[in-house]
Symmetry: D2
Subunit: 321 residues, 4 copies
């Protein structure tokens, strides 16, 4: 497997990177950085530091990408992850420095040079992927597969009631990407908040490992756990990015999925970044409202259920090493 991971490195973005970096079967082609969770340059540093912590310093290029969304004002989630995205750990600067090549070019060039070979895991707002497609639409047919962490599955969001962070921050990019014709799998916030939550006991177990990676995990994870508790969202730690990576690395973790029509709202007053996901129990679209016309064909596989235990085991193993 030859993935590129596009990330707004903060919190569980790092553990997603770790899973890929520590898996010997994976040739991580590149890490590309997109605007999102925290200040852009900090995200670059977070990625470089994570590569170093994983013992892979200097082996995987880190390409800075688009520092802001396509059309909307920049927006971050420092309120979740701490100012540095690492629960204010103030890690030292990694030795590896960012690659000169822009994320867009890193993506376009690798995909076009290796038709059918490269997989992308997009775990950030989709600005980089959309901009790469706008530059070179043929990446859609030349990419092996696109894994997206983003959106909701007709359920509560995590920024507004209607929308999940990655789609909310750059809804135009999300809409571009989902309509571009990539072979796509989507892991929604809805699925992860149910199937990818580490319990307080899990977190204690990780802490008790006391390996370098478990210490890294515990440190980086602290702020988002506190945020979840403060908002009463859940007791424990939700891991959307790392679980998406886990599914990519081992598709058997996807216990249930459905081929769906998924699209993103860019015009609403209350629904910026809302993801509409088609559902089998809905009435025939053209019968329910003739103005909608016939439904179009599915454009993505939406992950409906994930093997929580299997994911947990994969993460534990990576942190224990």
């Amino acid at each position: 497997m030859r993935p590129i991971i596009d990330t707004d490195t903060a919190g569980d973005d790092c553990f997603s990177l770790l899973l890929a970096l520590r898996d010997p079967a994976v040739k991580l082609e590149a890490i590309t950085i997109c605007n999102g969770n925290v200040q852009f340059e900090q995200q670059v540093e977070n990625a470089l530091y994570t590569v170093e912590v994983a013992g892979r310093g200097g082996t995987v290029p880190v390409h800075p990408g688009c520092p802001r969304p396509m059309l909307r004002k920049p927006l971050d989630a420092a309120y979740v992850f701490g100012r540095d995205g690492m629960s204010d750990a103030n890690f030292h600067r990694a030795q590896q420095r960012p690659d000169d090549r822009h994320a867009i070019d890193a993506i376009v060039d690798r995909v076009m040079a290796n038709p059918g070979e490269i997989t992308i895991l997009a775990q950030a707002p989709l600005t980089n992927i959309a901009a790469a497609y706008v530059k070179e639409p043929r990446i859609a047919e030349n990419l092996r597969h696109l894994w997206i962490m983003g959106g909701t599955d007709n359920a509560l969001g995590n920024v507004t009631s209607a929308a999940e962070f990655n789609f909310y921050v750059d809804p135009e990019a999300a809409k571009i990407v989902l309509n571009a014709g990539f072979r796509t799998s989507v892991v929604t916030w809805t699925a992860t908040v149910r199937d990818a939550v580490l319990s307080p006991a899990d977190l204690s177990e990780i802490e008790a490992m006391d390996t370098p990676l478990s210490r890294f995990f515990t440190q980086v994870n602290r702020a988002s756990v506190e945020f979840s508790m403060k908002t009463g969202r859940l007791a424990g730690s939700v891991q959307p990015d790392s679980v998406t990576c886990a599914c990519m690395l081992d598709e058997s973790l996807v216990l249930e999925s459905a081929d769906c029509v998924i699209d993103v709202e860019v015009a609403g007053e209350l629904t910026r970044g809302y993801s509409s996901v088609s559902h089998a129990t809905l009435p025939d679209q053209a019968e329910a409202d003739p103005e909608l016309g016939q439904a179009r064909g599915a454009n993505a596989r939406v992950v409906k259920r994930i093997d929580t235990a299997g994911y947990r085991a994969m993460l534990m193993k990576a942190l224990a090493s």
Copy 2:
């Protein structure tokens, strides 16, 4: 209790009427008819027939209201309820004829003449209620309470992924009503599809009663049960309108509710009629996106959990009589 029921009489609209008509503690002030489920005049007849079946012919006026939504093209759900809204029962014409007074005036006049006394149960698209408010905004403060069956609770709709029928058909009306300042309780499609489903066993039990009202129920309910089965939505019969009436008649059936900010999308491309419902686990709105500003105060109580057994018992009792 002095309710007005605003209804697009078809399927379980009828059983909602029955609950109110058969409850001796209720003085049903009026039935007002709104565009919605099936052809408008047919809905008027369905209401008149239901009053007759309940043994109340001539005692409750039926006022035809707005025959089409405010801004959008008319839309029905004959694909659910049969062409006549009664599973194509072709009932005879009731003796009672519709009242000359328009639903809007029936609502405005009664509410303004009885400040703080009248309750409205709105179990149809909200055209009539919105139009009454546009005509006389002071009904908002003079109505005792407004019960609305409509919308979703950040969950899958029943017309599109994003929207429930009543809000989808006339989203502008729904938005007007929810922002008008009524004391409001909302029973969403989300709550009813979970807590107000009659099982096949329930339906058999009703059929076995073999009373005039149980036979009426079984006949009228047939088409929507078949529709639910065909779409794989659920085995059994979902009863959004009658459960909302039940909650109004006996508030102890509301096991859980939350004061929320609820609003309706009228501008989206994919999200016509979507209802956004605020949620405690979301981040502070102004922190998550400064452009959204401070969240405004709650404008409705959203019913979160309903006493299914209690509802079922109330319905059974009414049909058995």
Copy 3:
């Protein structure tokens, strides 16, 4: 001619009323008041006072209508017309009092009782007309003709760049009315700001008349003239409402018009209340953008050029009497 004038009485709304009130060939059926220029009750008083000034006190009923727009927050133009809409004249209260019947009912009942006989001049936001149509859609076919002062003709607005006041204040109402199927003529802000401007010389001539009506005109007109000068809009006084009335009373004043598709934007971020008017020089719609489909048929006559001198003469004559 049997017109109803729907008005947000302030500034030149009054002179429109005067033209109709003073024309012996006109049986002014009713005046209906809509939210708009200034505080609602004040507008009612302004209409009553204008009837009195015209020497018609007690002969034409004045019906208060909808005190706020359908969906949007109330908005006024006191910055143009003074707080009382009469350049802060503080006129005495007229003897005639408002009619008890709501404007919506006055419109619906008169139109339905006199099929093909009644004309409406709508010179305010279109809330009343839209609400009347929502209540009774058959007024569309039973009204003789609907004259609308509102919108722009693909040109600069007067509230925002995109929109004229009447359409901006209640865009949903404007959209409802224009798509309702009335026989409609539209006099746009664009036409009036070019063809219905009284020059400073005209204003001096009116002042010099020194009749009761000319004094009324000069007093009421003062604030809006000052506003036009302050904004550099034009030297003189633009008279959108009275020129629309003039065109209704004498259609020969319409020198040029075109049957157009006109519609109103309700979903834009910058274009609330924008009026799109079809134009002969545009490319075939389905060729320019296949997604737009075939253009639909014209729904209104848009007035393109007005006989300025003829209008001026009609106004002068009315004020001189």
Copy 4:
């Protein structure tokens, strides 16, 4: 002057290129091709051929850019310019071949390497410029000046009533670019259709020159002249792109301009690509509608009046050579 011209080469795009190519004071840095008027590869060929016809073959690189708009479906104007964009001239293939470097990179690299030196003339949909900005936002401050041919000045469009072609085809790109912070001048369709029309006499005069460039002009211009006549738009030939180039080359041709707030509608149902241009005669924004808040500062100079004779002379001189 060191301009880059971004063009969807068809019709008068070519004459704009000619003006720059034939001006000895101009070092045309690059030509970049954007989706728009006709099939993308054809536009590349049209640019290469125009360079050759100008006697500059091999001296100016032509960089293909984004072959489709950011978010919307591709759309062309072959109905105006003929299938090949050259009035179906079927010119031979130029010797010069397109540059390998993508337009986005040609723009970003040149601008960043020459801070304050490069000017861009954007005479196509703004996909390339927007994508360059999304990739490297610092081009906004490092570009000397951006000239845009696009939008309307609160007036009739040329695709729909509301919108001009370049903004209509990629409204999101137009919105991104106008809000990016470039030093910007905009020449609207409104200004060009009034001030940049060549009369039939002008066209005859050009034809009578009988130089290679005048013959090229006459051939390429034929289809759009026929289109203008067919739609009754005007007798003659409107030259939006070449007049914008003329203004860039000789700013004294701009007789009147205004610093404005200009923005683009991306959310409307009728107003896709509409350009809102602020105007001095409008009321204070916060007074007219408090929800709009204070107006923001001007973001572009909008050209209001052009020296038609001066433009004509510049074009004639170039074609005569």
